[in-house]
Symmetry: C2
Subunit: 340 residues, 2 copies
Amino acid sequence: MSAQITIKDIAKELEISPSTVSRALKDHPDISPKTKKAVNDLAEKLHYQPNSIALSLRKSKTNTIGIIIPEFVHFFFSTVISGIEDVAYEKGYNVIISQSNESYEREVSDTRSMVSHRVDGLLVSVSKETRDFSHFKELIERDIPLVFFDRMCSELNANSVVIDDFEAGFKAVEHLISTGKKNIAHLYGDLNLHICKNRYDGYRAALEKYGIPFNEDFAAYAGMLELDSAKELMNRLLDLPQRPDGVFAHNDVVAYGAMQAIKERNIKIPEEIGVIGFSDWQFSSLVEPGLSSISQSGFEMGQAAARMFLDQIENEDENYVPQTKVIPTKLVVRGSTVKQ
Amino acid sequence: MSAQITIKDIAKELEISPSTVSRALKDHPDISPKTKKAVNDLAEKLHYQPNSIALSLRKSKTNTIGIIIPEFVHFFFSTVISGIEDVAYEKGYNVIISQSNESYEREVSDTRSMVSHRVDGLLVSVSKETRDFSHFKELIERDIPLVFFDRMCSELNANSVVIDDFEAGFKAVEHLISTGKKNIAHLYGDLNLHICKNRYDGYRAALEKYGIPFNEDFAAYAGMLELDSAKELMNRLLDLPQRPDGVFAHNDVVAYGAMQAIKERNIKIPEEIGVIGFSDWQFSSLVEPGLSSISQSGFEMGQAAARMFLDQIENEDENYVPQTKVIPTKLVVRGSTVKQ
DNA sequence: CTGAAAGCGCTTACAG
DNA sequence: CTGAAAGCGCTTACAG
């Protein structure tokens, strides 16, 4: 990078001291109007831009929020980042982002790198590989503000912004039951992730509440976003002697994979089999029939996470007590569960 | 943020000088093995993390890439960022990202903020409001590496990574023509954006090449991602005395909106009207019929942009000549143009 | 009203 | 093999 104008350059040209330039630039009352004008005019002329790096070092404050997400290319995480950026920008914070690619090792190295960069705090959604949380524990021990969002860590007493996945899973299954379904399958995700485990538990609880016995054959592990493997999985369920009449999938892509398998056999949705997904992605309203889903606002979650970070920063209390915020979800009913 | 361990702390505890600690930490040959071991052991024990901010100031190099995009929540931009991050991470760069929200003013202020943060370079996709490019011109004048991606600025002689939107538009329309369509409508985007203008010009050129007269009624301005307004627009085209038998939309959401309008009138796709979109988003293969599209790899574009930046950084030449890289696109044929 | 000095955390040319 | 000094760009308590 070529030489940027510094306070020293301005001082030299005006034959005054850097201290005076610094003060003039920030409109310090001590400085004479004449000097102020001269400094500001020259600064403008030379396109002076203060060096935030120097400022950060001086103040031990970078005005930067570090974000670690599993992957950029999830629509949900894009909306979360957008929400974070929304409040960060307003408060004069920058965001520095990296993706763990769902790898534990990268998550650890990303965390170290953020600490090295002296971010003022970290907002993270945990990778699905992560089982050891000591890299986060260390942050807490060093009083580095940390907020988990969506994928939190229940072992640590830390800030988190989440949805109630249990309740949401429960709601989804209850909805299927309310449409008369009794043989309800659940295509679940990685149970190492609390969000998936809780959705699973919500499924079980809903069955129980309505006196529907749990059928082991109906609970099947589905990957993340693999349409084809979801389809294949659904095909196996359809081959069971007693096939399901309802499907709750842990995300919308998996749900849509299931729908495709069902449609290919000319089984009617929702009459013969009702399908509900999770997250309510962009395309869920576009497919046919429209996919019922549990909608969660990533934007709100991002805003809340950023605000929680700011709260902690501003709250200089020795004994800050970690918060947990639950963002409400909404059942969105479309043609895949109720004939439109 | 609580006190982080510094080199000074280690020096004090070991009763040696900070210089020696610094050297020991980087395995400088001058330092005795014994000192090295003592330093490294203590550093580990205290969880010493070098302060990158201090380093950046010292070296006038932040190892940070600034990214400015119009909006996070476009799938395409997520993939670009993912591509950038991919090569940046490998080379030890961090990315700092902000979104202009399609606002010229925010783009300008984002640019200033990035310069203040002394990013080593900027990767930007221009907001659709932007007509004045002097904030970017300034970067070039100051030799701050700058790479445009996707939405570039043709007035400036700057690095850019793009697709050939003209050729891609041409290909899309040629494909419709090859399926026997003759009355081809184009739902175009903001012509202030070169990408949209070029797609439009590609449309016109394809018509011309095949001797199809241009019908003004068939070229209509569609917004960005508004499904409903695209639908409404298509309805107007369907009400024309001579309705189109082919539609080329500047993005997939608009194309899908058109498809919905067509389907609601029970007009057959692709037999009566063929539809093709642009970008090939996640959902395009999921809708019914599958939406034909022009696929462009955002990931590749991101990688290329990051590499171009690195090239410029490494190339210390006084007279660096800006590069332009064109990422190939692919016509993806699905059921919306050819009966499957 | 202005300036010299110290310091944020680091590195490195220079000296011993 | 080790240390003191200077400097990256800034701010601010202290002195005048």
